[in-house]
């Protein structure tokens, strides 16, 4: 992490920016005030954490779900649809319906890759990825078709009913989605660490062949369930973003959450509680990046370089640790 920031500072200085000013702006924008912390950093972190938990679930079982972005959009579309039609209901019921619809849509979206994998052996890396593009076109279709706002001018939906929105922390933009993220993290931690399913996931991820030969684990079923759970969480993130932040559906609702979340999960080594920490870290980076662009003129996309450096450093550390273990075993 520190290395990533050092690289950023060095790069900025080389590129002719004032590095201390830029990093100061990054810090101010991410954690400089109660408002920045809650309304910028944590709001950004919520979708990263929820999707990241789903990625951790899938990757633990060795199922490479690269399609969280698409599942997020599927969830957001469903949430918008339901959210526009639950005006008369009590707030609790309306918001719950929205989130349930989002979860189901995320699962439905990943059902296609699961089916293609079980029936035809199509690699989920490819199929989940391809469906991202389909989902993005589907959002475009929705906001210019069935879900377009009443005036039919702008490519976005109307705002969802007030009852369908998530409650906010007073004085901030932080919504109840944070609680959902924390509950999901705790639940997933319990499943991984304390249940038979957690053991099955681990066994399949660590060595699908061995798990299969043991005869006690249905490898295909474990992989399918992990992918479905992963899609459910990504869909939920889409629903939470819609009912907690944007209130309306539009294109580019996600600034690549589905991809950044992969880094979030990997950096946490697929540990649910770690995902919360890395999700907040990346949320802070991206929140600070906006401030850095505003106050120091540094392009916000520069933080992607920091994220990439962080991933590579962790990756190299893990690889060298693995080699050291292998060396000890053979010695």
């Amino acid at each position: 992490m520190l290395l990533g920031l050092l690289v950023l500072a060095g790069g900025l200085q080389l590129a002719g920016y004032d590095a201390p000013t830029a990093l100061g702006a990054l810090w101010q924008g991410a954690a400089g005030s109660w408002y920045a912390l809650t309304s910028a950093t944590l709001v950004r972190a919520v979708p990263l954490v929820i999707i990241g938990l789903g990625i951790a679930l899938a990757f633990r079982a060795g199922a490479l779900n690269i399609g969280a972005e698409g599942q997020f959009y599927a969830g957001a579309i469903a949430a918008a649809w339901v959210g526009l039609h639950v005006g008369g209901r009590p707030a609790g019921i309306a918001a719950t319906a929205v989130l349930l619809a989002a979860i189901l849509a995320g699962m439905a979206w990943v059902l296609v890759p699961v089916w293609l994998k079980l029936r035809f052996g199509v690699l989920e890396v490819i199929s989940t990825l391809l469906l991202n593009f389909v989902a993005e076109s589907l959002v475009s279709l929705m906001v210019q078709g069935p879900l377009q706002e009443a005036q039919h001018i702008y490519p976005q939906s109307d705002s969802i009913a007030a009852a369908a929105r998530l409650p906010l922390l007073p004085g901030t933009r932080l919504h109840a989605g944070l609680l959902l993220a924390l509950v999901a993290a705790a639940a997933l931690w319990y499943v991984f660490a304390r249940t038979l399913w957690g053991f099955r996931l681990h066994a399949v991820g660590a060595g699908a062949r061995a798990a299969e030969i043991s005869g006690r684990i249905d490898v295909r079923r474990v992989g399918a369930v992990a992918l479905l759970g992963s899609g459910a969480l990504a869909g939920l993130a889409g629903g939470v973003e819609l009912s907690g932040v944007s209130y309306a559906l539009f294109q580019n609702l996600s600034p690549g959450y589905g991809f950044t979340a992969i880094a979030v999960a990997l950096l946490a080594r697929l540990h649910p509680l770690g995902v919360v920490a890395t999700g907040i870290l990346f949320g802070a980076l991206e929140a600070g990046a906006g401030a850095m662009q505003r106050d120091a003129g540094v392009p916000a996309v520069a933080v992607y370089v920091v994220e990439a450096v962080v991933i590579v450093v962790v990756l190299l550390a893990e690889a060298s640790a693995r080699r050291a273990t292998a060396a000890r075993v053979t010695a």
């Binding site: 469906l131 076109s137 950044t260 992607y304 990756l315 190299l316």
Partner: protein, 304 residues
Amino acid sequence: MTAPDVVLGGFLAAAVRVATPLLLAATGETVTERAGVINLGLEGMMLAGALAATLGASAAGPWTGLAVAVLAGMLLAAGFAAIAIGARADQIIAGTALTLGAVGLTGTIYRQAYGTAGAGLALPTLAPVPIPLLSRIPVLGPALFAQPAPTYLALAALPIVWWVLFRTRPGLALRATGEGAAMARAAGVRTGLVRTLATIVGGGFAGLAGATLVLAQVGTFAEKMTAGRGYVAIAIVVLGRWHPAGVAVAALLFGAATALQYVFQSLGLSVPYQLFLMLPYVLTLLALAGAVGRLRAPADLGKT
């Protein structure tokens, strides 16, 4: 020409235009994957190639841009190789990181070089080069034989790559490395070197593919302009069964599926255009499902 001929000619030309960068990237990735390395950084390398082509072309003309783009792709590929092959880190993750880093780096450099106004459309580009005689064939001629230079480069690369992979000793060593690195090593092949070189070749092709987007099609750079084409190219490698000929067919099919929207538009059908944007991806998925059993990846693909 009659109206149907114009539509057909336009369709074919568009199909080839869409297919060209995909074919270039997929050809390179075929070489890489045959050596047992899967590089999800393809998208990032294409993006780097696109920016390098923009910078190179605006400084010293389109051909320099092309060359600089190839170098940029190879440079990133070398970085990927150092991490994924040298340090034996996970290839999928390293590739994802490479793409993420390339998005950030190209965006930053682009804004640094051109400010927020952008590069504009003043870039010197590669004009279509009609091949004498062939380009005069009715309908087919203008579509297939009046394309910019990168299309011919892509077509020329196919038999060369096929020949090197399947008819030469280095090609045999490369495929042996992809099918069983341990055996290849026992037979005296320096597998690390082979994989590194195969990855760098793939990077060069990806850079060229990115340059094609800028210099032969769009005429300028835009952030994230590759828009997932690198990932599509990886799907095309799978669909083309890791063989240059299959990859060419798959790339053309994807190009044709994308170009269908122009036909339907010219027919004046009132179908939402987004359905046509989805079509190539859905067809690719269907094709992958239909190719069941006949797809076999190099046995050691992705193993460190």
